[in-house]
Symmetry: C2
Subunit: 364 residues, 2 copies
């Protein structure tokens, strides 16, 4: 295709050749995978992928830890790149734009949840990988690949002042923490707690600080104190230090808990002020245990949040553009071997704070 | 004292003779107990107790099931009676008024929690029994007694059209369910679920229906269906019937869970709409187990509620007066033996829906 604009052709069996890295099962290594992307429809944006972040979700899915994996799987939902062409009805993008794709590529767009701009919670939302298109048949393949074709509604603009590599994790880690910060109206009056200083936590600290909040990082490890402060935190609590935790009781308005490993939330809830909010953005496999007396005496709001809607994701990127916020990353070459090493290190929390794959160079 | 008004005399060691039923330990029976109430201060209301409801909390405390019991204990915090005299600065009560006292008799009234009219959550709130006055020394004795002296701020007016016996449980069971219904703005658009059809649940159904909500009762037992409907429910779910529970998934805006026995809340949360509210008003001793995926996918508000503030309690009583709502009760003679029998039956949930002790006749 030479034209920069295509016409609608959603039913064509002929696709566009694409290549990526896929796994065929939970126990086999990544390999080069040749596949077809759909022919772009009128509302589609074709994006040449430059970078893709490695989210912990990728690891859970590749290893089938959530028991819902479909293979072959091309992971990756922290995607940035450059628009290569757009369909005839696409309004807000043109070739050359910096674009991002996050965790979803479609939703029903008709239900009350979609109409509230929370497409991520739509029962029919189509995830970027390990999922299907709305037809419930066509598999979706993610961002460890050279090219992606996505409906305009699910594509975001990346502000030009943000580097595409360090911006990539904003599409998942960024929006995941931004959404509850906005939902609970964080501002300069907010005493904000961020639990865990990993991929999600580190960007949560930056975003919370940029919104003016007094940010306290709560971590199991004293060793993260200096980094927390450099990222913008004003206070640091070691969650295993009962004395510190007791002194800070009833001090926080909002806690964003980014930890995905099973952990005791009771000491965290104790940090909340009366009617404070605890919001989980991680997904521990063990249920959270919440004491009834805590609910009665503190009447907190205990809730969770899953990424964010498309409108909110764009708002987050614009906010990051304005405040010049990106993620702290380790950019790496993208090969089956480097991905494996990055997975191993991510599992050990040995990364500050996100690996980002150099996709463009891998598939040149 | 013959005057209907007294002057301030908070330091007098001389009290007013009172009598009630007390237990001396978790394993000894109720006995007649002679004690002194304080001399009324300028802001005190002296109430001749006519009726006192038996709340499940009384049973937990008498048997020291919450490991915080102090003896001798005169239980009872669902108190109605008639004002006998008032202190010189009392503005809103006079002799002859119908008055009610609930679960608390004082609080600091200075903290931000008190200033929000949520005195029940004040760290220094003084409970009606098994607690102390603000001095942290003087024990409080509850409503299984002939007389109580309470600061005006903690006394409510009972609308004259409500019978004092059936109104008594409004002071605890009524406000406990009313408060979250108001907090979450229940009206004719609300799909409301009430879990458990006991003392709390039955009045919750009446209040919710009077606010216009579509009320669904969720119970372990099909046998309660007819009663639920008679009380004002429009639908009924047997929580053990997976099929029924599945059909009703994502249908409720607000769930008030009145069950104090440990139970699985996951099937209840499944009934909530996206962003629905689950509010515990019972206090199971085992923590609630909340799955992280439920938090992320449904982003509910999980919270709890403890009775209500004084302003809200008066509002509830006025609402009940306007809608002619009282509790369904079994009124019984008040003797150590009848109390024991009532406790045994309450533990077996063999009461529709609240025992109320005839205190006036017991201490004539």
């Amino acid at each position: 295709m030479t034209s920069k604009q295509t016409t609608a052709n959603t039913t064509s069996p002929i696709g566009i050749a694409a290549k990526g890295y896929a796994v065929d099962s939970a126990s086999t290594p990544f390999k080069l995978f040749n596949f077809e992307r759909r022919m772009p429809a009128a509302d589609d944006v074709v994006i040449r992928i430059h970078y893709c972040g490695i989210c912990h979700t990728d690891i859970h899915q590749v290893y089938n830890e959530w028991h819902m994996s479909k293979y072959p799987m091309v992971p990756g939902h922290e995607i940035t790149g450059v628009v290569e062409q757009v369909g005839s009805s696409v309004k807000h993008f043109r070739a050359g734009d910096h674009a991002g794709v996050g965790c979803m590529v479609d939703s029903c767009r008709k239900c009350h949840i979609c109409k509230k701009d929370t497409e991520q919670n739509c029962a029919d939302s189509c995830l970027t990988y390990n999922s299907t298109e709305l037809d419930k048949v066509t598999p979706t393949y993610g961002g460890y690949s050279n090219l992606i074709i996505v409906k305009e509604h699910f594509v975001c603009k990346i502000p030009k002042n943000l580097p595409l590599d360090a911006a990539a994790p904003l599409l998942c880690a960024g929006i995941t923490t931004y959404s509850p910060l906005r939902r609970y109206k964080v501002d300069k009056h907010t005493q904000l707690g961020i639990v865990g200083l990993g991929g999600l936590g580190h960007i949560g600290v930056k975003l919370g600080a940029a919104m003016g909040a007094h940010v306290t990082v709560i971590s199991t490890s004293e060793s993260k104190r200096d980094d927390a402060m450099k990222l913008g935190a004003k206070a640091f609590l070691v969650s295993k230090d009962d004395e510190q935790m007791k002194t800070a009781a009833n001090s926080l308005d909002l806690i964003i808990d980014t930890v995905s490993a099973p952990h005791d939330v009771a000491p965290l809830l104790n940090l909340l002020k009366f009617e404070g909010v605890y919001c989980a953005v991680g997904a521990p496999t063990k249920p959270l245990e919440i004491g009834a007396f805590t609910l009665l005496m503190k009447r907190p709001t205990i809730t969770g949040s899953l990424i964010g809607g498309m409108k909110e994701t764009q708002e987050m990127l614009d906010f990051c553009g304005k405040h010049n916020i990106t993620c702290d990353i380790e950019k790496i070459e993208a090969t089956p071997e480097t991905i494996k090493t990055a997975y191993d290190r991510t599992v050990k929390a040995d990364v500050k704070y996100r690996f980002v794959l150099d996709i463009l160079n891998a598939f040149k």
